[in-house]
């Protein structure tokens, strides 16, 4: 008898698509969340349909972000692919008052100094965008295909050391995935464990 009820409820539950705070690989990413950018404009992911989009979670004071920025690794990746028409959004989800929280001025200054080349920097102070995508670390990398589906999620490379010297010998997952996508191939390594500092959400 109890099992019948349990089954009834299991069916009830299975009919309902649960509202998850995390996008799974192959799922459509939430395209309508408003994104405030460093030039004061508002955009959303739907605006970039038809292009590959890279999301890079960024906190300038995190040692793991510095690992990649101090030797120009992230910047060269940005240049390499924005030149090929990829949209690169660097996202700052640090809540105001928390480590690495940026306003538009600071974002511009930092990127200029670092010689960075993202398409735009998204100032996600509420953390809504980060939480919707399930961004957990800085850096945390996401690639969205032309139809708006998530095709890569995880680390930038396979060496989770904080030493910049390890970059040379590491396999860069993002470069590999983007090259495959550019050649109309499926992403072979699509899901990796991201490493780094926790995203400094407000709560």
């Amino acid at each position: 008898m109890k099992n019948i009820i349990a089954l009834a409820f299991a069916s009830v539950v299975s009919m309902v698509s649960p509202i998850m705070a995390e996008v799974h690989l192959g799922d459509q990413v939430p395209g309508t969340i408003a994104l405030t950018t460093w030039d004061g404009t508002t955009t959303n992911l739907d605006a970039y349909k038809g292009k590959f989009v890279v999301l890079e979670w960024y906190n300038p004071e995190c040692p793991f972000v510095k690992k990649h920025y101090s030797v120009g690794n992230m910047q060269s990746l940005q240049k390499e692919f924005t030149a090929q028409g990829v949209v690169w959004l660097t996202v700052n989800s640090s809540a105001p008052g928390k480590q690495g929280s940026l306003n538009a001025e600071q974002a511009k200054e930092l990127m200029t100094t670092a010689n960075g080349a993202p398409t735009s920097v998204v100032l996600d102070h509420s953390g809504a965008f980060g939480k919707a995508l399930g961004a957990k670390t800085t850096p945390h990398m996401f690639i969205i295909d032309k139809s708006g589906k998530l095709v890569y999620r995880g680390a930038i490379d396979d060496n989770d050391s904080a030493r910049s010297a390890t970059i040379a010998g590491a396999k860069n997952f993002v470069r590999a995935a983007l090259n495959e996508l550019m050649n109309d191939k499926p992403v072979s390594v699509a899901n990796t464990d991201s490493y780094g500092c926790s995203v400094k959400y407000s709560a």
Binding site: V16, I19, S198, K200
Partner: protein
């Protein structure tokens, strides 16, 4: 903080990298590392790498959780520098990690000193020097990667006495192989009875990503643990069951795929959902805990006139539906406010379980004719009062939900992801289902005909109904025993006898007017005196305190190390407010840092003779007791209620 643990063993050169414009205002390295000798064997040289984070900072476990990074080591023997030999080794075992929430994320690591055992495959006879390049991440909220090159020289078989056993508590036993079940993306598995010791605080810690949502609430129901899977495709969980900082077992859980009936259902609409809720409600009537209440309803309906029957059943249905709505809406609202409650959560509260058991015993006594109450349930023969049947409806819902909770908790939790309006509609239909049998009998004359005629049998039937109620009370008490443990359940068990005695006394004395109410009030108070003191829940987060140890205290004092002693207990409200308002404030904590004060905590939550003696020593009968031992000076004893000024002034002396 385990100062004695590493002072004197360092043969190390510690190189620390702190990022130049770090957000952190911490001038100190947030942790220290040291190598210790442990043993030699045929496999090589055993050493211990101890890392001691400063208070408030933490290190990471093998799987760091949502963020962070685990320890990396590169070992070398003799003159070969590590980079050349390139022996990347993992510890042979990882001590039990703590669960460390960071905002909306969860990490697994150590907020205290930890010793990681390594087995270095070098020939002890030939090795003149052992080197390790270590990299590890230390975080508070901000993170600082640390690097160190440490060295160790022979003799290799020297067991360092300074290795602290406390920082070396490993998961024990062989891997438990379990089979779980899933409902949506919630997986549940039951621990074997032999492991159900401290299940209340148990938590599953995965050994890799893509198993569970680390930050999702884990429910523990009896010996069953429910976790939220990262996706439907997860079919295996492996990791640890952590009962406490001192006890954990490796575990591997196979989760069979969801029943195909659920998966192949296409896309049924909301109406089907409501239909299922309705059917579920009808079935609830047959639940052992609902049946006695239902029996009472039938008893009332039999003896009532058709008109009364009509009103009575409609009011009952209204009572059921309103209670269901209140329950569903209340839980929904609480959940949206971020409070971790679920279906049948009332059963998780021992106070409510005890109250229900008492209520059942009282009703049973009433049915046996021990006393007459002017209550709703007694109004069967008299005229129908609106409040009576409404209350019956409430009672039905109250007793029905706990009965089903073990089966529905996980499922309903996921159903709560619906918008509030849809949730309420589901609960309304559940309520309608529950009320339908009684409503049918009351409203449809054809159904009323199946009721037997009133007669002498009714008194017997009424008395008979006392027994399922007593049985339900016993069942509730068994739930209570499982919740609070047999020792603490003694009080409530006697409380039930006292309740029976009071009922008898009441009928014998027959007080009237004011005395009657005074008697009832005194009775309630008396019965509740038997309610057990709440057992404090073990915190999942370990704080980097040194546990009280008399010898250690003497040692530290002899070494001239300042010690702050905090005798506390989870159930002590003054202690908690002292912690929150005074001790854990920035001002006091930074003073602790500056002066390198060792915070020694004597946790009196569970009885502990050493701590009782300590309290007596300072003339205290209980906690809180806070004492500051300045180096080479008399200890300063604080009054029970602390102020920041008082503490800072004492520390400044």
């Amino acid at each position: 903080m385990r100062l004695v643990g590493w002072i004197g063993v360092i043969l190390a050169v510690v190189g620390i990298g702190i990022p130049a414009n770090s957000h952190s205002q911490s001038p100190f390295p947030p942790s220290h590392a040291a190598l210790q000798h442990r043993s030699i064997s045929q496999e090589g040289i055993g050493v211990g790498l101890t890392i001691t984070p400063e208070k408030g900072w933490h290190l990471y476990w093998r799987y760091p959780g949502d963020s962070g990074a685990t320890l990396k080591t590169n070992w070398g023997c003799d003159g070969l520098p590590p980079a050349d030999t390139g022996m990347k080794l993992e510890p042979t075992a990882w001590p039990i990690p703590d669960v460390l929430p960071v905002g909306p994320l969860v990490n697994y690591g150590y907020a205290h000193a930890v010793t990681l055992p390594f087995m270095i495959p070098c020939n002890a006879a030939l090795t003149k020097r052992l080197t390790v390049d270590a990299e590890w991440l230390v975080c508070k909220e901000e993170c600082i990667p640390q690097f160190a090159t440490l060295e160790l020289l022979p003799p290799w078989n020297k067991e360092d006495s300074s290795a602290s056993p406390l920082s070396m508590i490993f998961p024990s036993g062989s891997v438990l192989s379990l089979v779980g079940s899933r409902t949506g993306n919630v997986a549940s598995f039951a621990l074997p009875p032999s492991h159900s010791g401290a299940v209340g605080s148990a938590r599953f810690i995965p050994s890799s990503s893509d198993q569970i949502v680390n930050a999702a609430l884990q429910k523990v129901n009896g010996n069953e643990i429910s976790v939220t899977l990262t996706s439907d495709s997860v079919d295996r969980l492996s990791g640890l069951i952590r009962f406490s900082a001192a006890e954990a077992h490796p575990v591997s859980v196979t989760i069979p795929a969801a029943p195909s009936s659920a998966a192949s259902n296409g896309s049924p609409n909301f109406a089907t959902v409501l239909l299922w809720a309705f059917i579920g409600g009808v079935i609830l009537n047959a639940m052992p805990c609902v049946f006695p209440v239902l029996g009472l309803k039938i008893y009332q309906l039999v003896s009532a006139t058709p008109a009364e029957r009509h009103t009575n059943s409609i009011l009952y249905a209204l009572g059921v539906c309103l209670s269901m709505l209140a329950l569903g809406g209340g839980i929904g609202l609480l959940r949206s406010a971020g409070v971790g409650v679920g279906w049948g959560t009332q059963l998780q509260n021992p106070a409510i379980v005890y109250s229900l058991a008492l209520l059942f015993v009282l009703l049973g006594c009433n049915l046996l004719g021990m006393f007459e109450l002017g209550s709703a349930l007694q109004s069967a023969a008299g005229k129908v009062r609106a409040s009576g049947p409404l209350m019956d409806g409430l009672l039905t819902v109250l007793v029905a939900t706990p009965c089903t909770a073990p089966f529905m908790a996980g499922a309903v939790a996921v159903a709560f992801t619906l918008p509030l309006a849809s949730q309420l509609l589901i609960f309304l239909f559940l309520g309608l289902g529950v009320a339908t049998p009684v409503l049918m009998v009351g409203v449809v004359p054809a159904f009323a005909k199946i009721l037997p005629r009133p007669g002498e049998w009714m008194d017997l039937f009424k008395q008979f109904l006392a027994w399922p109620l007593f049985a339900s009370a016993v069942w509730l008490m068994s739930v209570l025993i499982a919740q609070v443990g047999l020792e603490r359940a003694n009080g409530p068990l006697f409380g039930i006898v006292v309740l029976g005695f009071l009922v008898w006394l009441f009928t014998a004395v027959r007080p009237t007017g004011f005395r009657k109410w005074a008697f009832i009030l005194a009775g309630i108070v008396l019965v509740y005196c038997f309610y057990p003191a709440p057992k404090p829940a073990l915190s999942a987060i370990a704080v980097a305190h040194v546990s009280y140890d008399k010898t250690e205290l003497t040692k530290l004092r002899a070494a001239g190390v300042p010690v702050f002693l905090d005798a506390t207990a989870t159930w002590c409200i003054t202690c908690q407010s002292n912690k929150k308002l005074v001790l854990h404030t920035d001002a006091v904590m930074s003073a602790f840092f500056e002066k390198k004060i060792v915070w020694m905590e004597a946790d009196w939550t569970e009885p502990n003779e050493d701590i009782t003696n300590l309290l007596n020593e300072f003339g205290r009968a209980g906690v809180p007791l806070n004492v500051y031992f300045p180096p080479q000076k008399e200890p300063i004893v604080f009054p029970p209620i602390l102020t920041s000024g008082m503490v800072l002034e004492a520390l400044a002396r």
